[in-house]
C-alpha cells in the first residue's frame, strides 16, 4: 500500500507527545525511496497515456500518495522542531549528550541556529536604554518567594551569587538560595528544590 510507512512515522510522534524520540533516519529514507518509485512509475505512465486515458486514474492516485508522503514527512519534521524548541527553553544553548544523540545532525544544526537567533533577540531587548538584554529563559514561573531551599544533587563546585557571596555546592548539601539564581541549575538537574 502507498503511504503506509509514513503513517507509522506519524504514529510514532503521536504516541509520545511529550518526549522526543530518536530521529528515524531509516524510515525517512525508505519513504523517500517509495516516493521516487512512485514518481518513476507515474512518469512512465504519463508519457504513455497522452492518448490513452485509461491510466489517468492510476497516475492521479499515485500523485496523491506522493503528496501525502510529502505532507506527512513535513509534519513529522515540524513536530520534532517544536519539541526541539522546548529543549532550548529547558536546557539552554547546550544540550545534555543523551538528548543530543536523539537529534539528527541537521536537526542539531537547526537547534544551534534557533538558539543563536533567540540569543540575538534576547540580547537586543532594551538595548536602546543601555540594557545588555534580558534572558527570557529565566523567570519561567511566577515568583513565589525570594529564596528557596535546595538540595545539591551533584558535586558542582563554587557558585558565586550576584551579591558577591560564594557558596560551595557539594553533593547532598542543603542551601537557602535566591530563587532567580538557581532556576537554571535546577533545570539542569544540579539542584533540587525542597518543597
Amino acid at each position: 500500500m502507498f503511504a503506509e510507512k509514513v503513517i507509522e512515522l506519524i504514529k510514532e510522534v503521536d504516541r509520545n507527545p511529550d518526549t522526543i524520540d530518536q530521529y528515524n533516519d531509516e524510515k525517512i529514507r525508505q519513504i523517500i525511496e517509495e516516493m521516487h518509485l512512485l514518481f518513476k512509475l507515474n512518469m512512465n505512465d504519463a508519457n504513455a497515456t497522452t492518448e490513452n486515458r485509461s491510466l489517468w486514474t492510476t497516475v492521479q492516485v499515485r500523485h496523491s500518495a506522493l503528496e501525502r508522503n510529502k505532507r506527512c514527512i513535513l509534519a513529522y519534521l515540524y513536530n520534532r522542531m517544536k519539541k526541539i524548541k522546548t529543549l532550548r527553553w529547558e536546557f539552554g544553548a547546550v544540550l545534555p549528550p543523551d538528548i543530543r544523540e536523539l537529534l539528527s545532525d541537521d536537526e542539531y544544526q537547526w537547534f544551534s541556529k534557533y538558539s543563536g537567533n533567540l540569543a540575538l533577540y534576547m540580547r537586543s531587548l532594551g538595548q536602546d536604554i543601555g540594557y545588555s538584554g534580558i534572558d527570557l529563559t529565566e523567570n519561567l514561573k511566577p515568583p513565589k518567594s525570594l529564596f528557596i531551599e535546595v538540595l545539591c544533587v551533584v558535586d558542582y563546585g563554587k557558585l558565586e551569587l550576584e551579591d558577591g557571596d560564594v557558596v560551595m555546592l557539594k553533593k547532598n548539601s542543603r542551601h537557602y538560595l535566591p530563587t532567580s539564581e538557581c532556576q537554571t541549575l535546577i533545570r539542569q538537574g544540579i539542584l533540587k528544590q525542597i518543597m
Binding site: L38, L77, Y78, M81, D106, N117, L125, G126, N139, P143
Partner: protein, 216 residues
C-alpha cells in the same frame, strides 16, 4: 507614527508615573495572553519599565542587605520582571507558531507604518522562517522527486483561530458592534462601559487593538 507617538508622550509626560506604566503593561500582558492573534507591540512600555527596574535596583544596592525594604523591593522587581519576560515570551511563541501569516501581514503593515512587531521581533521571525525552510529543504525536500521539492509556504502556514470566543470587558461605551452570523444575518450590539461579555474574537479585534476593550 513615531512622531505622533512622541507628541502624545510629551503632552502627558508629567502624568505618566511608574504605576500607570506598570498597569498598562499588565493590561497588555493580559490581552496578549488571551488573544488568539498577535497584538501591536508595547515596546515603549517595556523599555520604560526596564528603565524603572534599573533605577530601583540601583536604589536597593544603596540599602544594607538586612534591611527589610531590600527584600520587599526585590520581590517586587522579580514580579515585574516575570511579567515582562512572560509578555515577551508569549509574543515570541505566537510569532513562531504563526510565523508565515504574521510575516505576510507585517510586510504590508510596515509599508503603512502600522507595524505590530518590534524591529527585533521582525528580524527574529524572518530568521525563524528562513531556518525552518532551509532545514526542511536540507533534510527531505531536496531528496524528493523533482515536482515535490517546493517548500509550499501556504501549506505550511498555521493561522490563528479568530473565530474563537473570548471574555472581554468594555472600557467605554461602544455602539454598533457588528456580529457576523453564518447565515448572513448580521446582528448589531452595544457594549456598555464596564460590562462584560463573551464574544467571538474577530468582531472585537479592532476594539481590542484600540484599547476600547480588555480581555479577561
Amino acid at each position: 507614527m513615531e512622531s505622533t507617538e512622541e507628541l502624545q508622550f510629551s503632552d502627558d509626560e508629567e502624568e505618566v508615573t511608574a504605576e500607570t506604566v506598570l498597569k498598562t503593561l499588565q493590561c497588555a500582558w493580559q490581552n496578549e495572553r488571551l488573544s488568539p492573534e498577535i497584538l501591536p507591540h508595547q515596546n515603549d512600555m517595556v523599555e520604560c519599565m526596564l528603565g524603572q527596574i534599573q533605577h530601583m535596583e540601583r536604589n536597593i544596592n544603596k540599602l544594607s542587605k538586612t534591611d527589610l525594604r531590600t527584600s520587599i523591593h526585590k520581590m517586587e522587581i522579580s514580579r515585574i520582571k516575570f511579567i515582562i519576560c512572560n509578555y515577551l515570551k508569549t509574543r515570541l511563541n505566537k510569532i513562531e507558531k504563526y510565523c508565515i501569516p504574521i510575516l505576510n501581514q507585517e510586510r504590508q503593515r510596515i509599508e503603512t507604518d502600522t507595524n505590530y512587531l518590534t524591529p527585533s521581533e521582525y528580524k527574529y521571525a524572518q530568521e525563524y522562517v528562513l531556518n525552518m525552510e532551509n532545514h526542511m529543504k536540507n533534510v527531505v525536500l531536496n531528496k524528493m522527486p523533482g515536482n515535490m521539492q517546493v517548500f509550499e509556504m501556504n501549506k505550511m502556514a498555521e493561522h490563528p483561530n479568530l473565530q474563537t470566543h473570548v471574555f472581554l470587558k468594555a472600557n467605554e461605551t461602544i455602539n454598533g458592534v457588528v456580529l457576523e452570523d453564518l447565515t448572513g444575518e448580521d446582528e448589531e450590539i452595544d457594549l456598555e462601559e464596564g460590562s462584560q461579555h463573551i464574544l467571538q474574537y474577530k468582531p472585537i479585534a479592532d476594539l481590542l487593538k484600540n484599547g476600547k476593550v480588555t480581555l479577561l
